[in-house]
């Protein structure tokens, strides 16, 4: 196992043996630990001293189901704190199969106008990976949908590609790192927190992986792994949310639109209401029915990455049966739909496609445009105007660069006081005034407002649910802590977070996940150990943030949510600050 360091100051690389202390760290646990160990917390996120760290999970690259995740870490230009964003893509397994535990991009070239590509391939003779650099300047300033086919043509269809779009090149806080999906679309984003700009700051346009001939994953106990794998597959295939033609495979993550809308928790027109009259037209059900009408048959969703058996990724088709975009996630159809007062699915699809093409995060883009609409740049509901603004962002016009700074920056520039952001990161699609538990997680996660930071996993095993009233602020805080720790573990094991749905309800699936990890690592982990593993990651992330000047005072929900009641329930966010502080008091 290696740490592969790519130094962009002189386009050199170094292959180091994995230090003993990182032996059991993978994915988010490793990216966060290495950022803590190597990045000065007060450095400029786009400067010489920031680093971009990639790491796949424990079981990534094995036959474990739905496990092709890769984490990307660094100091975030959006939040100024630590960031881990992850994606499902063949790039993850390819990195793992070459036994590169961490790929670290560091340094900064003096020449600003030359961009580079790095091709990492397995050298069979030497029995290790090597790296070649090439001039990639010709691919700058372009739509990534135009660029990816050219790179696949040059390097072969079996490679996988990490890159970023013009949003990264322009240095936006709103810019993701993009990876290819199964159909080689540049559509799988580690989207949040501006890591695309970190990659671009180092003038690294591509990291291309060619794992042909690579040895794959070494396992200590294959039969234990196989036993766990089978249990997890059975759990995924039998649960109504994750099974074939189940909720996610039929309607995608956008299955949540109608639910949150009925609950009065779908943020509408820049978080001024919790219910949108046009929501149903933008939902997963509507995507499914529109496709059925246009294509003349039912179309179920596909896998974004190799080995996924949940297959939640949709394709949305135009009236003439050409592809409009893939994929429209819940967060995207909300951010660019209800949040902007837009109910036209075709326009939402156009916006999603443009965000992917320019390298923008759909959540941050929608949050930004919502604030800009409130500030008077456009009327709510003006989807054509919103499309134009996304073009301006991608092309780097004056107004586009303003918006590229993200939700909070845009709020400042337009003098808006209703700015839905925590630690500088725009809030996703669940209203904290209507769903208080998610508000606690938004406030306290190290990542800035993040909906994937606190998944509910095995409350009985965590031993939190029986002790405290889950309706009380203290009870909610305790649950949030436990959920955030287990989520940090899943972000490190390589599985997609959506395995949380079946393993929450099917205990053997949960056991299976742990057995898979024990099989690979030769560990003897139980449920307590994985919570402790995740908690360690949270501790490291909090220490980094504190040293970066982001202490517990930043663990707060925006003020307007504490004073403006949200219709239809007319609730405010009333969780006391002490309860928020208690989330990580005893960590």
């Amino acid at each position: 196992m290696w740490v592969l360091r790519i130094n962009m100051s002189d386009q050199s690389y170094k292959l180091e043996e994995l230090p003993e202390k990182y032996k059991l760290l993978y994915g988010r646990a490793l990216t966060s630990q290495m950022v803590y160990d190597e990045v000065p917390p007060l450095c400029h996120a786009l400067g010489l001293n920031n680093k971009l760290v990639f790491s796949a999970g424990v079981v990534t690259g094995t036959a474990a189901p739905t496990s092709a995740r890769v984490s990307v870490g660094g100091k975030s230009p959006l939040t100024g704190g630590i960031k881990e964003a992850n994606a499902g893509t063949a790039w993850g397994p390819d990195l793992a199969k070459m036994r590169v535990r961490a790929l670290v991009v560091e340094g900064l070239p003096e020449k600003k106008d030359v961009y580079w590509g790095a091709k990492v391939k397995w050298d069979d003779e030497a029995g290790k990976p090597d790296v070649e650099f090439f001039d990639a300047t010709e691919h700058i300033g372009k739509d990534v949908y135009e660029v990816y086919p050219q790179i696949f043509e040059k390097f072969g269809e079996k490679v996988s590609i990490a890159s970023m779009g013009t949003a990264g090149e322009l240095g936006y806080g709103n810019s993701g790192v993009v990876f290819n999906d199964m159909a080689r679309r540049p559509s799988r984003y580690a989207g949040r927190g501006g890591l695309g700009a970190v990659m671009a700051s180092k003038r690294l346009k591509f990291i291309i992986l060619d794992a042909k001939g690579a040895p794959g994953i070494d396992m200590v106990d294959k039969s234990l792994f196989d036993e766990g794998r089978k249990k997890l597959i059975d759990a995924i295939r039998s649960h109504p949310i994750s099974q074939p033609k189940g909720g996610l495979n039929s309607y995608g993550t956008a299955v949540l639109i109608n639910i949150l809308n009925e609950a009065g928790g779908l943020p509408t027109r820049n978080f001024s209401a919790g219910r949108f009259e046009g929501a149903a037209k933008t939902s997963g059900e509507a995507i499914f029915e529109t496709n059925k009408e246009r294509m003349g048959k039912e179309i179920y969703n596909h896998a974004c990455s190799p080995g996924c058996i949940i297959q939640c990724s949709n394709t949305y088709y135009n009236e003439d049966q050409t592809e409009a975009t893939s994929c429209i996630e819940y967060e995207s159809t909300w951010a660019l739909g209800a949040n902007l007062g837009v109910d036209n699915l075709d326009d939402i699809a156009t916006m999603v496609q443009l965000c992917n093409a320019y390298g923008l995060d759909t959540i941050e883009t929608g949050g930004t445009l919502g604030v800009a609409m409130e500030g008077g740049l456009l009327e709510f509901g003006d989807s054509k105007g919103a499309i134009q603004m996304i073009h301006e962002m991608g092309k780097g016009t004056a107004v586009g660069r303003t918006l590229g700074g993200g939700t909070e920056v845009t709020g400042k520039i337009y003098g808006v006081k209703r700015v839905p952001a925590v630690k500088g990161q725009g809030m996703p699609a669940y209203e904290p005034r209507a769903v208080k538990g998610i508000g606690i997680t938004y406030a306290t996660t190290t990542m800035g407002a993040d909906h994937t930071a606190g998944y509910t996993i095995a409350p009985e095993i965590l031993g939190v649910s029986g002790k405290l009233d889950p309706l009380s602020p203290e009870g909610k805080a305790a649950l949030s802590r436990a959920f955030q720790a287990t989520t940090a573990f899943i972000d490190s094991c390589g599985h997609c977070l959506f395995i949380a749905f079946p393993i929450l309800d099917i205990a053997t699936g949960f056991e299976g996940m742990i057995q898979e990890c024990n099989g690979v690592l030769g560990t003897n982990w139980n449920a307590d150990d994985i919570v402790a593993y995740g908690a360690e990651t949270l501790k490291v992330e909090r220490k980094f943030n504190e040293a970066a000047g982001i202490g517990k005072e930043a663990d707060r929900i925006p003020e307007f949510m504490k004073i403006e009641p949200l219709p239809p329930h007319n609730q405010i966010f009333d969780i006391p600050d002490e309860a928020l502080d208690s989330v990580f008091e005893d960590l």
């Binding site: 039929s250 299955v255 109608n258 639910i259 009065g264 538990g437 749905f501 309800d505 329930h569």
Partner: protein, 137 residues
Amino acid sequence: MRLESFPRLAVGVINMKIDVWLYGVLSMYASEKAEKGFASVQLELSEGTKVGELLKTLNMPTEERGITFINGKLSALPGLQPDLNQELKDEDRISFFDHRSMWPFQYRHGAAMASGLNQILSTNPETIMHHKQKGED
């Protein structure tokens, strides 16, 4: 759409209007399907009609529904239906989802719930964190 399209229940004077939303495959329980992926039906019912009686009016077996809301308050989850005897009031909005729909606990923790589910949460919280499967107790 009017109540005439549905079998009428002999429960007294028709004096309240209920806004019914049927999502996903449940939209087939509306006599005509108006929109993509859902149907919205206005029913006129007699005061005191309970959720269970409304389901009979719709000809929808209760096990076909999963997540249910009454005026934005969660009243039922898959396999957990403490709302069958809840009385509806004039101008209530009731929404039914099929078993493909989900609402994971982390995205509903602290959301408004009808009294039946609130009671279950305070007495047996673990039950309510789960997403039960169709046909399960």
